[in-house]
């Protein structure tokens, strides 16, 4: 029964940090006051707004890529973290958003049969596509979710994986999207404000587009917090904890899960639209299974269910991807022990650690799930669940299982009725609830 059995004493460094935040004051308030709730969000937002002027244009492109991944991670977190549904095909919605952007801004490619010229007819500008692409992805999410959400958790994972594989294949198959070659995707058109022109198409100045991404990320994070702290957020937790009890408390299981799936898909689509505009050209090969796993990895690393956690996860993975691995390669190759041709470690000089990216991801994912499943910045409730505290009788698709379970129990009860007396009806309950 004891909940405290699993908790260890707080490490000294953390206690010291906590004391520092409590005791240092700024304008009459302790630092921790500034670093909680909406104030933290505001501080981060201000920092991110001035970010391009702090670091110059070098990191702006990286920041855009990070922003796109944060959008994806926060979106998938609604599905995996809030509703507890494992979606292994999240890349599908990313692909749909990207293709929506490309199809809209660049248009379908056609070969003019007379001149032999390739022509394209744009359908819509970027801005409405930002909404439309997200909605289309959301609708696909609901269309996929409607028949599949009744499945138990691991089956759902595989069905979504299948969907994630099928979508790029279909984009590849239909000539409308030019198959394997893929197609161009255009950034937003210039905005003319009287004398001032904001241009999004200059590859050397990504700052205007950075602000677009920043705005989307801020909205997505805000929306995610808002959802978490709502009746819907509570309903998701309730479903994770005990589906049957949630349903009997008035939570419509199908609708509530569908909303999670649809909202997650919408954010995936949103990320896709941004991706299309940012990358400039997309092909079916840009959307392999790895993308789904990378986003999942961000969530597990940062903290399942924790918004700041998954945001941090996205930043860390992206940092490993674009920066850290290259530095490791340089460092290792420059190391005298490795440089020396007679050294047994000399073979390392030929290893490119960038290629080991997915291996490193895999090892990190495994280590996290084994040793720190709650992630770097854990969500309080999720940490308890992942430690198996108060585990429900059955957490996936409870109704079907309950039915079988009880059918079995009734059978057993009838079989053994003759030999048994009442075995204190409560005894079983206590054991279970205290598990």
């Amino acid at each position: 029964m004891s909940v405290r059995s699993g908790t260890r004493p707080e490490p000294a460094w953390r206690a010291r940090l906590r004391a520092l935040l409590r005791d240092t004051t700024l304008a009459g308030r302790p630092l921790e006051w500034y670093l909680s709730g909406w104030r933290l969000a505001l501080i981060l937002l201000v920092v991110m707004v001035i970010f391009p002027w702090l670091v110059g244009s070098t990191f702006v492109a990286d920041a855009i890529a990070v922003g796109i991944y944060i959008t994806l991670a926060v979106g998938l977190n609604i599905v995996v973290g809030y509703a507890g549904l494992l979606d292994l095909g999240y890349v599908a919605f990313f692909a749909i958003g990207s293709y929506a952007e490309a199809t809209g801004t660049f248009g379908a490619l056609q070969l003019n049969s007379v001149t032999g010229e390739v022509i394209h007819t744009p359908v819509l500008p970027f801005w409405p596509l930002l909404v439309i692409g997200a909605l289309v992805a959301g609708i696909f999410g609901i269309v996929l979710g409607a028949p599949t959400l009744r499945l138990r958790g691991d089956y759902l994972a595989i069905v979504t994986l299948g969907f994630g594989e099928i979508v790029p294949i279909l984009f590849n198959y239909f000539p409308f999207w030019f198959g394997n070659t893929g197609m161009s995707a255009l950034p937003p058109a210039d905005i003319n404000l009287g004398g001032l022109t904001i241009t999004f198409s200059d590859p050397l100045n990504r700052i205007p587009f950075y602000y677009v991404v920043l705005a989307v990320v801020a909205l997505v994070i805000l929306g995610s917090f808002s959802l978490r702290d709502s009746s819907l957020g509570r309903a998701w937790v309730a479903i994770r904890e005990d589906e049957t009890a949630a349903a009997s408390s008035g939570v419509n299981l199908v609708r509530t899960k569908l909303l999670a799936f649809g909202l997650g898909a919408t954010m995936g689509g949103l990320g896709g639209v941004l991706n299309g505009a940012y990358i400039g050209a997309i092909s079916p090969n840009d959307f392999p299974f790895f993308v789904s796993i990378t986003v999942l990895m961000m969530i597990v690393l940062g903290g399942i269910g924790s918004i700041w956690g998954v945001t941090l996860g996205a930043i860390i993975l992206r940092f490993i991807d674009v920066d850290l691995l290259g530095r490791i390669s340089q460092f290792v190759q420059a190391n005298p022990v490795v440089n020396n041709p007679v050294s047994p470690l000399h073979f390392l000089s030929t290893v490119d650690f960038n290629q080991a990216k997915y291996l490193i991801y895999g090892i990190m994912l495994l280590l996290m799930i084994l040793f720190r499943p709650q992630g770097i910045i854990p969500d309080v409730r999720r940490r308890r669940e992942l430690k198996g505290i108060g585990a429900a009788v059955e957490s996936t698709s409870a109704i079907g299982v309950l039915e079988r379970e009880e059918a079995g129990a009734e059978l057993a009860a009838v079989d053994t009725l003759d030999q048994t007396t009442y075995a204190g009806p409560g005894s079983d309950d206590i054991g279970r609830s205290g598990d």
Partner: protein, 262 residues
């Protein structure tokens, strides 16, 4: 109609699992304002009847009506919206939610359902949230100030009796017409049982709710119920006033014939 006061009616409700008939042609009539008990030996199909009423199972045949309207085929949440709330034999609280949150989930149907209101926390949402919190405190207060004091505790950390109370408070959150309690005194000692009997009577008085309960302890049932139905092997073998049940030979046979401690 003379049946205006009938709240819940089961007619010929049958449920089979594979070859086994767990509930066999059961008829029940629960009238508004009654405390109605279902008793019977272990495995008699009592909880299955609950699950058939609340939409967790679908009857193989037969009909369940609430206020004269059939609720067969409703999902559990629709049954709740129709006015039937329940507790579970083995207490199914949301263990990693606080007491207050548990009771708030019980009021889920009173929140606006549209995504826009929820995401933007529009005024209608905020009103619902405020009302639900006030109501949750009120419901916990029904069990005394000590329950209110526990509102921020994780449900898992509560004592057994308190867990039962929270589950009842959660069920009351939707303002049900019919409250179904599955063995509300299971696992309780005599003092706790007496207290539970007291609050069950108070529930009817204070909330005007009709109560259908499953109970093992016969002395509890006899003192509490207006009417009792007895199930055995999935069939209703008797129904009547407590005194009629006490002297019914089939009932005595069902219980004592199997060396069951009553």
């Amino acid at each position: 109609m003379a049946n205006d006061d009938v709240l819940l009616q089961l007619s010929g409700v049958t449920r089979t699992f594979g070859g086994l008939t767990a509930v066999d042609g059961v008829d029940l009539t629960v009238r508004r304002g009654q405390i109605y008990s279902i008793i019977g030996p272990n495995g008699a199909g009592k909880t299955t009847v609950f699950n058939l009423i609340t939409g967790i199972y679908r009857p193989t045949s037969g009909d369940v009506t609430l206020d004269g309207n059939s609720i067969v085929g409703y999902t559990p949440d629709r049954v709740l919206r129709a006015g039937v709330a329940r507790t579970f034999q083995n207490i199914r609280l949301f263990n990693n939610m606080t007491v207050l949150e548990n009771v708030l989930v019980g009021q889920h149907v009173r929140f606006p359902g549209d995504l826009i209101s929820i995401v933007f926390h529009l005024p209608n949402y905020n009103r619902a949230e405020r009302a639900a919190r006030a109501r949750a405190i009120e419901l916990l207060g029904f069990f005394g100030p000590s329950m209110v004091a526990l509102q921020d505790e994780y449900a898992l950390n509560l004592s057994y009796a308190d867990r039962r109370r929270v589950e009842v408070a959660r069920a009351l959150g939707s303002n049900p017409k019919l409250l179904m309690l599955d063995e509300p005194t299971a696992g309780m000692n005599d003092a706790e049982t007496a207290e539970a009997v007291g609050y069950i009577q108070a529930l009817r008085r204070d909330f005007g709710v009709t109560i259908l309960l499953i109970e093992h302890k016969l002395q509890v049932t006899m003192g509490l119920s207006d009417r009792i139905a007895v199930l055995d092997y999935g069939k209703k073998i008797a129904e009547g006033l407590p005194d009629e049940i006490r002297t019914n030979e089939l009932v005595i046979e069902a219980y004592l014939g199997r060396k069951a401690a009553i």
